[in-house]
Symmetry: C2
Subunit: 316 residues, 2 copies
């Protein structure tokens, strides 16, 4: 297989694009794809300041690399969740992010959840009995809260995450199997900001996981290979397996599923009749000030209070 | 495994309903399910006259059996397509339908496509170059036309087909992968009649294929086991395989995908803004009188004319 652009030996063949590329041309192609998505979905402009949420994995570090190469002003945000899992998962992740930022002279914000919340994420899940055995629900809650807080406090114009096409399609598939029209209506590569909420964008939404992995490898980015030890429910993995089979049979099926969904969405498919199921009225949380649906404390602040109460009860 | 109703040895276990039943109780359960669908989707009432399209297979003969047992006035319609496929497929199918009807004293309409169109379905596909290699498209066109004609001429209140849950879910899945909102908006267990179109209903839409097969077997209905030799494209089969894997992992996934789709549809998900993409204006075909989108002859009549012209050209 030869590179379409220069005829050298190809490093990657992307069947769904009928495109094989050598390493150097693939390293040009990925930023072009990201730039196309940034423009197509109006994610941000060249003068905007972007905050990239980085986990130390291939997607988010690859995204940060690409945004900086494209000339955007992009700072990083690492949220330490206190996850060990026998591999010092969080420590390892922080090291990768710090090394990446220092080598490039980039600014990295860090949040340490065990200090903020008073307990690591797995501990919080146990103490508050949220999410049964799995800490994923409280982890998502915490990350959303802290990403939004740092983006707003830092005056960033957009919060970027490294979600790739496989991530987006698995979520889309899960929501489609239940026809969860509310979630479907809110799934987009770019969510506009609202009062109290930073805009959220996913510039890698059109790249398959194998493409983001190839980018990080060929670019020589050192990233954490391990998945989070608590990672992803069986359902999400099962859906990814099914979608991989589909893609193997019909190269391009994932991209086409996602893009045709976005077109239908843009054409107004999930627009709710006025009033009905539309955005609920928001109130500022009495503790942190972030918007929340019910008056009083937001779920994050209630969780934090509950952790403190539980810890005090144990201490007494 | 014991029958939930009587404790006898179960003949079938339906994991997605957490229900195991013995043969006699399963033979009661299937008509109850069909009756629920008939009422839930307002398919027809006890005094209506129903035309059941029968192919000689388990689904359509099982449906006819069930409708008659439920006390409905149901006649059959067999459309002979002139398909041989090395197994005298159409002849065999007609024999099964005739034997079924005669044994029960039921009325069976028959249409012979080779006489009506001047050629068998595979011949029509070749002569008209419709559908490349595959006669499925012209076969569907012909069946829709003839089913509608016989239903209207006979003054039937509804045209019933034996589509089961697997059929419905495979079509739904295919249309969802492309977000074909037009097709999605028209997929329903009961389509109301419009001027020139008989109402169409699918009382078996909530039964898995293994349940309709078990019904036919346990009821002792003699049916054609062979699939149509031209049957179903690779895509449809591939989708059915994927959906079978999904169902094996998550019993109930098919039913839930289908029912949540129907609920979203009923809630107005695919309702088109007025005018836009809504039902096109229809004109009566200048030859057969059935409604068609463009003035002049309908596609079926144009196909029939083309077959005659081709045959004459060959003869000359």
């Amino acid at each position: 297989m030869k590179c379409r652009k220069c005829g050298a030996t190809a490093a990657i063949n992307m069947r769904h694009h009928r495109l094989a590329l050598c390493g150097p041309h693939f390293l040009e192609w990925v930023p072009e794809q990201a730039q196309r998505a940034i423009e197509r979905y109006r994610m941000f402009s060249p003068t905007d300041r972007v905050l990239v949420a980085v986990s130390g994995g291939k997607d988010s570090l690859g995204l940060w690399d690409v945004l900086v190469r494209l000339g955007y002003s992009a700072d990083g945000l690492y949220i330490g969740l206190g996850i060990d899992g026998g591999v010092a998962y969080s420590d390892q992740s922080l090291t990768r992010c710090r090394t990446f930022a220092e080598a490039r002279g980039l600014r990295l914000h860090t949040v340490d959840v065990p200090s903020e919340l008073g307990a690591s994420i797995p501990e919080v899940a146990r103490l508050t009995h949220r999410g049964q055995q799995k800490p994923c629900s409280v982890c998502g809650l915490t990350k959303r809260h802290e990403m939004n807080r740092v983006a707003l406090e830092g005056g960033y114009d957009a919060l970027a995450t490294g979600h790739n096409l496989d991530d987006e399609v698995a979520v889309l598939f899960g929501n489609t199997l239940n026809w969860s029209t509310g979630y479907l209506g809110r799934q987009a590569p770019a969510l506009e900001g609202r009062p109290g909420f930073a805009p959220k964008v996913k510039p890698f939404c059109r790249l398959l996981e194998r493409e983001t992995a190839a980018y990080a490898l060929l670019r020589g980015i050192e990233y954490v290979y391990d998945e989070c030890p608590h990672a992803e429910g069986a359902t999400n993995l099962m859906h990814k397996n099914l979608l991989n089979r589909l893609e193997a049979e019909r190269p391009g099926a994932k991209l086409s599923f996602y893009l045709s969904f976005l077109r239908a969405r843009e054409a107004g498919l999930f627009v709710q009749p006025e009033g009905e199921l539309s955005q609920p009225e928001m109130h500022p949380c009495s503790s942190c000030g972030q918007p929340t649906t019910a008056p009083g404390e937001c779920t994050y602040c209630r969780t934090r209070r509950r952790v403190r109460e539980q810890k005090e009860a144990i201490r007494d």
